[in-house]
Symmetry: C2
Subunit: 258 residues, 2 copies
Amino acid sequence: MSAEERHGGAGIQSAERVLRILELVGAAPTGLTAAEIAQRLGLGQSTTYRLLATLHRQDYLARQSGEHRYILGRTVDQLGRALQYQLVATDPVRQVLRAMHDAVGAPAYLTVFRGDDIAVAHIEDSAAHPRIGQLHVGFSEASHATAFGKLMLASRDDAGVARFLERHSPTRLTASSITDAAALNDQLDEIRAQQLAVEIEEYLPKLACIAAPVRSAAGRTVGAVSVSVQAKDFAARSTQLERAVRRGAWQVSARLSG
Amino acid sequence: MSAEERHGGAGIQSAERVLRILELVGAAPTGLTAAEIAQRLGLGQSTTYRLLATLHRQDYLARQSGEHRYILGRTVDQLGRALQYQLVATDPVRQVLRAMHDAVGAPAYLTVFRGDDIAVAHIEDSAAHPRIGQLHVGFSEASHATAFGKLMLASRDDAGVARFLERHSPTRLTASSITDAAALNDQLDEIRAQQLAVEIEEYLPKLACIAAPVRSAAGRTVGAVSVSVQAKDFAARSTQLERAVRRGAWQVSARLSG
DNA sequence: GGGCGTTTCGCACATAGTGCGAACGAGGTG
DNA sequence: CACCTCGTTCGCACTATGTGCGAAACGCCC
């Protein structure tokens, strides 16, 4: 059928199809009918129905008694919540972020280090102090140019950092972005000593960010708490901000450990 | 290999396996290694690696450069968020719920009707006014015994209600639960007329709940907003509560439509 | 009743998925 | 340095597994 010889060659066909169905249905706010799915995937009716039946039986998809449209089901919900939970975005933790936001009058971020990615787990902001436009809740790249990104790198040893840089070379996002590996490593050492990371106009012009590490009960750095302010205000407020993120990170860590 | 002749017989094997892997990994906060997954599924190494590769390539699973553990990846996050979004649990809507909670001093609920299920999309509560213990965010049954459940049924025509009752017969949860189809249908008519549903100790003893319908831009009833209070307080406060949920439902509907 | 869209069923074919075993690679340890 | 162990990939042979086609059973609306 469809030539499927991408990179390596591996890839379970029917599994890929099932996953693609999930994505299709997820992208359709009002659901899709079996026929629509079959058509968009270029599959036969029969095959599609069997795939859908599998998904339906496991509650990945659901539908209304009379209706013919498939929508995402409760298992997807459970998976999403499990991930949310793993990302530490629980109610008590959110309260800490809210308190931080109120205290410093700036958007507060919770990021969690996942694999080689950084997950923006939660943002606490307000109309008066809105979040950074470019930074959405979800997964994000830009490791070397953000305060929490540098914190993630600093949590690894030299070999780990090197491995990471092989896959994601530091790009120049603004005039101040660090793109040299040696300079980056120096700064990471400094960050390890301070247990605090700062970024001034390295990610976005006019903005600065300060982040402190969140630790698991075992002491591993699993994420960061940060706030971002106008770059021009940063110098004057740095002591206050440092105190705020250190305190926030400590509180989040504490609530994590129990 | 493993005999797999459950109910009907349909069910794509490799698809089911992939889905089960997702659930396994989702349930393991710190991730799983390939070997662990292989063992728990009773699969060969080779097969497991191929399945994992598929999941990994599509970003359903991720892992850290050095690490050997698989964790849920960004696609799962996206699916979860897509569902959250479909469930209307967005920030502006949450604000409405919070305002309701503050106004009436009781936990406020947002439920969305999905297929034959009711999804509890959001709960706004506080230490002073905590949520009902038995009712968690996520999907829930108990359609006939809750205010929002009755609202869901009332949004269907007689045939739709009948179809639903075939699959989920009304169980007696408390002494006041309605278990008779005729009585239920009478009440649904009343609810359709009032555009408001009330439940007093039908779901849990000592508790009462009042719910108003949320409508889509097209005018379809897609969910409900509700608050729950102590049953003994209900009569005295009913006018205030009715006003609050009607107002909340209206606001949510408005924010939905844009 | 006749048409239409959805869903299920049966069957024949060969592809796609599987399991086994072995090779490869990277650490770690004596 | 040779020897582990553990994680990952490769090759291959086999057939179970998934597939497509066609046709039949619903359920529904005009």
